[in-house]
């Protein structure tokens, strides 16, 4: 296993401040210290060459987990082995083999052209000239930024800068890459290009990639496996396409009608998710699917009829909600199902 995580936890101390000036003054003299359990006893394993999506709402603990796995943070408790090392011991041999890309953080020198920062990374990672030149040529070609190497970083667009960041992170050919929101703030076209690149990189270089993203498309497009984390717990770990198995009770029926039907008529068959003059989307219990389909076809003026799974995105949103409201036993059940 390339990564083994065993009951990893991290708590942070923080201070509470109520709204307003009065409370700001009060805060000068007394601060109520609170503790946040950012990551709460998570365990999982990742194999070499895997591409895993780390999903979760804001503040779920995704980034904290990545920071522990890359050695930036010390955990409060638990163990982890990454590339055979304990990450927070920060051994040089460990650092030489991985990279972390954070969408909002940059490692490039702002006032100098990107090629200066790239060359600095060549020196930092002790890469020999020939390997550096060939990797640089390959990456700049793939990301189409060859002509921008001599431009000051502060004059580059966000997308161009992110590409340079990526080259800087990959120049030492890491075996393991942590990508924390790498496409944040990028336009749709750039996001797509980044995805194509990661896909290629994973396949060609056999690099293990762990990705967190708010954009569902990033994850759906790139990762077969998803680890879904919420409130510091893992609520799902498995094949992304199986997220909905957790919600196997429901199916979606999409209808195209030749005449208008009242909402009440439709509600007799299932929960109406969308409704317009000649189209409707229903959510129906899986066990009644056959019977209800028959009823719909017999009783409604159906032109077209489609049965679909709940979209992955919705399944994940349901997982988030479920975790927040479910008692611990139900959580375990969800996890076991996965």
């Amino acid at each position: 296993m390339l990564i083994t995580v065993d009951h990893l936890s991290k708590t942070f101390d923080y201070y509470k401040k109520e709204l307003g000036l009065k409370n700001s003054v009060k805060n000068l003299f007394y601060r109520q210290k609170l503790t946040k359990q950012a990551v709460d006893g998570i365990s999982f394993e990742i194999d070499e060459g895997e591409m895993v999506g780390f999903l979760g709402p804001n503040g779920a603990g995704k980034t904290t987990t990545l920071k522990m796995l890359s050695g930036i943070l010390h955990p409060t408790s638990g163990k982890a082995s990454v590339l055979g090392f304990t990450p927070w011991e920060r051994k040089k041999a460990f650092k030489m083999q991985f990279a972390i890309v954070m969408g909002q953080k940059n490692q490039l020198w702002w006032d100098l052209p990107a090629n200066e920062s790239l060359f600095l990374n060549k020196c930092i990672y002790e890469i020999d000239d020939r390997a550096y030149q060939s990797t640089l040529a390959e990456l700049t070609e793939l990301l189409d930024v060859k002509d921008l190497l001599n431009v000051q970083v502060r004059r580059l667009s966000l997308g161009e800068r992110m590409k340079m960041e990526l080259i800087a992170a990959l120049i030492h050919k890491p075996r393991l890459i942590f990508l924390d929101e790498p496409t944040i703030g990028l336009d749709i076209l750039s996001q797509k290009k980044f995805r194509q690149f990661f896909k290629y990189y994973n396949q060609e270089k056999k690099a293990t990639i762990i990705l967190t993203s708010h954009y569902m498309e990033d994850v759906e497009d790139l990762c077969r496996r998803a680890v879904i984390i919420n409130q510091g717990h893992i609520v799902f770990d498995g094949d992304l396409s199986r997220v909905n198995d957790v919600f196997a009770q429901s199916k979606i029926i999409k209808l195209q009608l030749s005449a208008t039907v009242t909402r009440t008529t439709l509600e007799a068959f299932g929960r109406v998710k969308e409704y317009a003059d000649f189209t409707a989307t229903l959510e129906v219990p899986r066990q009644d699917l056959k019977e209800l389909s028959k009823g719909i076809l017999d009783q409604l003026p159906v032109v077209d009829f489609n049965i679909e799974d709940i979209p992955v995105e919705e399944g994940i949103a349901l997982l988030y909600q479920r975790k927040e409201t479910a008692p611990p036993a139900a959580r375990e059940a969800t996890h076991a199902l996965a």
């Binding site: 980034t63 890359s70 954070m102 200066e116 920062s117 930092i124 002790e126």
Partner: protein
């Protein structure tokens, strides 16, 4: 020496960055000249109303020479990287140094000296002009032996000030916003180091206490080596004390940074 290459490159990039901001540097030079002129006027007024020809053991020419030298040397030893460190810690940029095979201390040192070099060259040139001027027009005696020892004391003074501020910047791990702390500390330090007035102004007792603390060895000591106020026999002891304080601050910095970086919470992103 592959490992050294990364710091050589960092030095070079710091140097290039400094060249990017030439105007900013020119303005900083003008701002450095300002306190020198104010003090010159102040001392002139004091000496005009003084009863004897010396004040605190300094003749008028000696005190003006001291003022000029103190103004220039305080510029030479001045740091500035502490704000970058505070920013790194506050905004989570310190993380990149934890994941890359590069030491934060040598990286900062290399980047700082690279960044400082163009300015340093300029101030050293001014210093030489001032020294030549003092000798030519005021007949201030500059002994060759002292001129030879002075660069060593100055280099150690720079190193000492660097490690002192490196220690102070570790406070960023405990207190997030410490810009004013740096300012406050700088003002007190510059006073204690003889960067505004000669330390003799504060009395013999004060000078004795200051001889044991590191501050004096960043500005006052190199000047006194140069202007002949310090007897030859006392010069080696000063060099030794500079080295001892550099070593002590390095050990302290190591301990502070080791504890501090464990507190680092890598905020944001």
């Amino acid at each position: 020496m592959r490992w050294l290459e990364k710091y050589r490159k960092t030095f070079e990039m710091g140097f290039q960055t400094a060249l990017e901001y030439r105007i900013n540097f020119a303005i900083s030079l003008i701002s450095a000249a300002y306190p020198i002129f104010i003090q010159t006027f102040l001392w002139t007024a004091i000496y005009l109303n003084a009863t004897g020809s010396t004040v605190y053991g300094f003749t008028y020419r000696q005190i003006i020479a001291y003022t000029f030298l103190a103004g220039l040397i305080s510029r030479i030893v001045r740091t500035g990287f502490e704000y970058e460190i505070m920013d790194d810690v506050k905004n989570g940029r310190f993380s990149k140094f934890l994941v890359q095979p590069v030491g934060y201390f040598p990286y900062r040192l290399a980047s700082f000296f690279g960044d400082k070099l163009p300015g340093l060259a300029m101030i050293l040139t001014i210093l030489v002009i001032v020294l030549v001027g003092l000798k030519a027009f005021w007949g201030v005696s500059l002994e060759p032996a002292r001129l030879l020892i002075f660069p060593f004391t100055l280099a150690l003074a720079m190193a000492l000030n660097f490690v002192i501020f490196y220690c102070i910047s570790a406070v960023a791990f405990w207190l997030v916003e410490i810009g004013y702390l740096f300012e406050g500390v700088r003002i007190v330090f510059i006073l204690l180091s003889g960067g505004i007035f000669p330390l003799e102004v504060f009395g013999t007792r004060f000078v004795q206490i200051m001889s044991l603390l590191p501050f004096k060895y960043t500005i006052n000591y190199p000047i006194n080596v140069l202007n002949g106020k310090l007897p030859y026999g006392e010069i080696p002891l000063g060099l030794l004390i500079q080295c001892i304080w550099i070593g002590t601050c390095l050990l302290l910095a190591r301990a502070l940074w080791r504890t501090g970086s464990k507190r680092y919470i890598a905020v944001g992103g």
